[in-house]
């Protein structure tokens, strides 16, 4: 039952993305209203879906209501992340009466949901393993995702800032954002290929990392590997070469770059304390209860710390070294790359590399 509503919300967000971008380009009121309508519809369906899943989980697990909150696996946490992001965005849209950011936020939401399909991760309701039966864990996951949503917002505006303010192809900031965007897109395309190739053969027991990049960078054939790397390089080159086109589009936004800079900082200023409390402190308390060590330098913890240090870097560089504009926007973008890696990379890449992942 819940999966149907998840389907609705995914469709609605993808459509909303298209319509927001159209609105962005043509600025017709009716288009804008349609976009908002779709986003609201998607949000309502998603809320319903989460509540239904919560109920299903509650019935199945036989645990308390709070314990049954659907935040126990990768799938559920991505759904929650998108939900927070859209909630934050819709509040912003209604308060500031501005739809422009929709063209940047809805793609993040839609991509996150598409990523669920592309990676073929399990969407089953699974009972909680003993280590996860903790209220601290619940608080930890919930707050972490709220902070991730804030960081996602700062990423969107930071990236927009970079796109808007760079034009020289030899400039570091320009190279930075085109390469980052290019690699990001290439990785998604590679995952799409994996999906196309392995989806049929997959069952619910095979895990994402078993086939991640197997049709491209980690293919059995070295020729395919070489071609994959080469085409990624060509792709990144093309983004670099024609990145200006994006600037033209965003230029039409009529946004002041100083506003973007401000929103980037504001989102970090909200995300940082929440991440510190929820991501680091509550995580440490939970670990201490479950294993008796509040900090053990495992890759997930270490990557959270790396993320934290990058945002601390952002705050200090901005306030005390007077870093402004492009330099600091790059740090914001980098911070979110670390967030994504903390959440997905550690699970999908590092654990694939280490032996505990294959056990």
């Amino acid at each position: 039952m819940s999966s149907r509503f998840f389907g609705f919300s995914e469709m609605a967000y993808i459509l909303a993305m298209v319509v927001y971008i159209t609105h962005f380009a043509f600025r017709k009121k009716a288009v804008g209203v349609t976009a908002t309508g779709l986003a609201v519809f998607g949000f309502v369906s998603q809320t319903l879906a989460i509540l239904l899943r919560w109920r299903e989980f509650y019935m199945l697990s036989g645990m308390g209501v709070l314990r049954s909150i659907p935040l126990t696996n990768l799938f559920e946490s991505i759904i929650f992340f998108v939900w927070c992001l859209m909630l934050g965005y819709l509040i912003m849209e209604f308060r500031y009466k501005n739809r422009s950011f929709g063209a940047f936020v809805t793609p993040v939401a839609a991509l996150a949901l598409l990523f669920i399909n592309l990676s073929g991760m399990s969407t089953q309701i699974e009972p909680l393993v003993p280590a996860l039966q903790s209220n601290w864990l619940l608080a930890h996951v919930t707050l972490s995702f709220i902070s991730y949503s804030a960081f996602a917002l700062s990423f969107s505006t930071g990236l927009m800032y970079l796109v808007m303010t760079t034009d020289n192809r030899r400039e570091g900031a320009y190279i930075f954002w085109t390469v980052a965007l290019g690699i990001f897109a290439a990785v998604l395309i590679a995952m799409g290929l994996d999906y196309a190739r392995f989806h049929a053969a997959m069952n619910s027991n095979s895990f994402v990392k078993d086939y991640l990049f197997k049709s491209t960078y980690k293919s059995g054939s070295s020729a395919v590997q070489v071609i994959s790397y080469l085409s990624t390089a060509v792709f990144v080159f093309l983004v670099w070469r024609y990145g200006h086109a994006l600037k033209k589009i965003i230029g039409g936004f009529n946004l002041q770059s100083s506003v973007l800079d401000e929103i980037t900082y504001k989102s970090v200023a909200v995300g940082f304390p929440i991440f510190t409390l929820g991501g680091l402190i509550f995580g440490a308390i939970w670990a201490n209860q479950a294993w008796g060590v509040y900090w053990s330098w495992d890759p997930k913890e270490t990557w959270s710390l790396i993320t934290w240090f990058i945002y601390a870097f952002y705050l200090h560089a901005r306030f005390l070294r007077g870093w402004k504009g492009r330099k600091i926007a790059m740090v914001a973008v980098l911070g979110f790359v670390a967030v994504i890696f903390t959440y997905l990379g550690v699970n999908l890449l590092l654990s694939g590399l280490h032996s505990y992942g294959s056990r």
């Binding site: 304390p273 510190t276 008796g292 509040y294 005390l320």
Partner: protein
């Protein structure tokens, strides 16, 4: 000389150093997450091969090994980096304290009109009426947004109201920084005053020592010394006093020796009464791992508790955590705990080993236990097999023989009560098969953890104040004007400017509206 010290001081208090350290900790940590920490050579060779290729991997390993990356979070250079970070924070905090203190203690002062014009938030307008009526309204307007204003008369007949609030919030950033020092201090206390160990206890066994997690097993002489000390302990039946005597040592010396080879005497005993895995329904999905553990002082039980993941036992500052379990190799010491119900409804509990038999009261049948299987399954040909290395589906096989000698045999499976009934109407249920599992407990003592938690609370409070409470100042100047009174409003606010702007708007509305009555 002084200037040299000054230089050192300003080096350690500089933000530039902080930024460099942030970057270095982040970058080196990345390497530490790619290399598997404290793993075997083969393991990391495999990791490196998949990154740099088979050919380069051994060389890469050598380089990274020499740099300490195989256990980098404990390497001297990483600890130096963290110490530098702490020193930086400490010096910076000491350096900044007087300034923060001054800002928090300094009352606001009236400012000159041209200074007001340079403030980030300002407004200027004329209201009808004289300065006196304006003053009264201004005082109440400022009160309405939470400021208690003082006033000062200027030489030109003007009056200035000035106020500030939340000056204390300047300490937020300071508390944030100090809290990180507190957390680091707690971590250091934990390292020096605590220990991290583990103990593996089969059901029915107890221990008065645990093994440190940080014992370096690569030094053969240490390993040999440990073996000989443990040997002395075992030949004294685990009694520390006896073992110390056999080595002609005092007890404290013997305990010190044990600690130096990673064996930690607890000062009491822990006994594992029972270990259990509970499952969701009849699936093999574990719902809980639990051990019933009893603490003994001089052989006498003091406390008992079911330890579960997320629910440790605490005794005398030592915490026991459920961390692993295993099935023992030798299943022959196991005891089946059977719940027997005779046809007329009488029940009794019996504990039997494999090979033993019993008769059911009220019947003439004899039941003999012949086999135990921790995870019973049947293959295609109907033969019994064991499908996992844990007690997922424990079952005992029994031979039932009547008075006439007729015999049959069947499996009694713990999970499936329908297998418990015997032909004559009695039933034999398997409640447990005790003594074949062992629980693995992590044992920790960390007196620093409360300091760490205190630091965490300070960190959360500090960040809240630093980001969400701002030090606001406001000045309102009233000067006589041709058409009434010229009001100049000026304000500063380092954070959350939008919210403050709205407050100021409210104030201005109040000031303007008040005179229209």
């Amino acid at each position: 000389m002084k200037s040299f010290l000054d230089k050192v001081w300003s080096f350690f208090s500089s933000i530039k150093l902080a930024i460099v350290i942030f970057a270095l900790v982040a970058l080196t940590s990345i390497v530490g997450t790619v290399i598997e920490q404290q793993a075997s050579y083969a393991e990391n060779l495999r990791v490196l091969s998949s990154l740099v290729g088979q050919g380069l991997a051994p060389a890469a390993y050598k380089v990274l090994y020499a740099l300490g990356f195989m256990n980098m979070y404990r390497s001297w250079w990483f600890l130096t980096l963290l110490s530098l970070f702490a020193l930086n924070l400490l010096v910076c905090s000491i350096d900044r304290f007087p300034a923060i203190w001054r800002i928090m203690r300094t009352p606001v002062k009236p400012i000159a009109p041209d200074q007001m014009k340079r403030m980030p938030l300002k407004d200027e307008f004329v209201v009808p009426g004289g300065p006196d009526s304006a003053l009264e309204k201004a005082v109440s307007a400022m009160k309405s947004i939470g400021f208690t204003a003082k006033s000062e008369k200027g030489p030109d007949g003007s009056v200035q109201l000035y106020a500030q609030k939340n000056a204390w919030s300047r300490s937020g950033v300071y508390v944030t920084h100090v809290s990180i020092l507190v957390i680091l201090l707690g971590a250091v206390l934990g390292v020096f005053l605590g220990f991290r160990g583990y103990v593996d206890l089969p059901e029915g066994f107890n221990a008065n020592i645990v093994y440190s997690n940080n014992m370096d097993m690569s030094d053969p002489s240490q390993v040999a010394r440990r073996a000989s000390l443990l040997g002395a302990l075992y030949s004294g039946n685990g009694d520390l006093q006896t073992a110390a005597q056999s080595l002609n040592e005092s007890l404290p010396d013997f305990e010190k020796d044990l600690r130096s080879v990673g064996v930690i005497p607890l000062g009491f005993q822990v006994l594992c009464q029972q270990f259990q895995v509970q499952f969701y329904g009849q699936t093999d999905m574990p719902k809980a791992y639990r051990s019933l553990v009893t603490v003994l002082e001089n052989g006498k039980p003091v406390v008992s508790k079911w330890i579960e993941v997320n629910h440790p036992l605490k005794y005398k500052g030592v915490m026991f955590y459920q961390s692993s379990f295993r099935l023992r190799h030798d299943l022959s010491n196991g005891v089946a705990v059977l719940g027997i119900r005779s046809p007329d409804g009488q029940t009794e509990t019996r504990k039997l080993k494999i090979g033993q038999s019993f008769s059911i009261p009220g019947t003439k049948e004899t039941v003999k236990l012949t086999e135990f299987n921790p995870a019973l399954a049947f293959d295609d040909a109907g033969r019994a097999e064991t499908y996992s290395q844990m007690m997922t589906n424990p079952a005992v096989k029994v031979d039932i023989s009547g008075p006439d000698g007729a015999r049959s045999s069947k499996w009694i499976v713990q999970r499936y009560p329908e297998t418990w009934s015997l032909p004559d109407g009695s039933s034999v249920g398997l409640t447990d098969f005790w003594g074949v599992q062992a629980t693995g407990l992590q044992v920790r003592k960390d007196p620093g953890v409360w300091v760490v938690y205190l630091g965490c609370i300070l960190l959360a409070l500090g960040l809240y104040v630093a980001f969400f409470i701002s030090h606001k100042k406001i000045w309102v100047r009233m000067a006589p004007d041709k058409k009434g009174t010229l009001l100049t409003v000026a304000a500063t606010c380092p954070k959350n400017r939008h919210a403050y702007e709205r407050e100021i708007e409210k104030l201005v509305k109040h000031l303007k509206g008040g005179n229209q009555i």
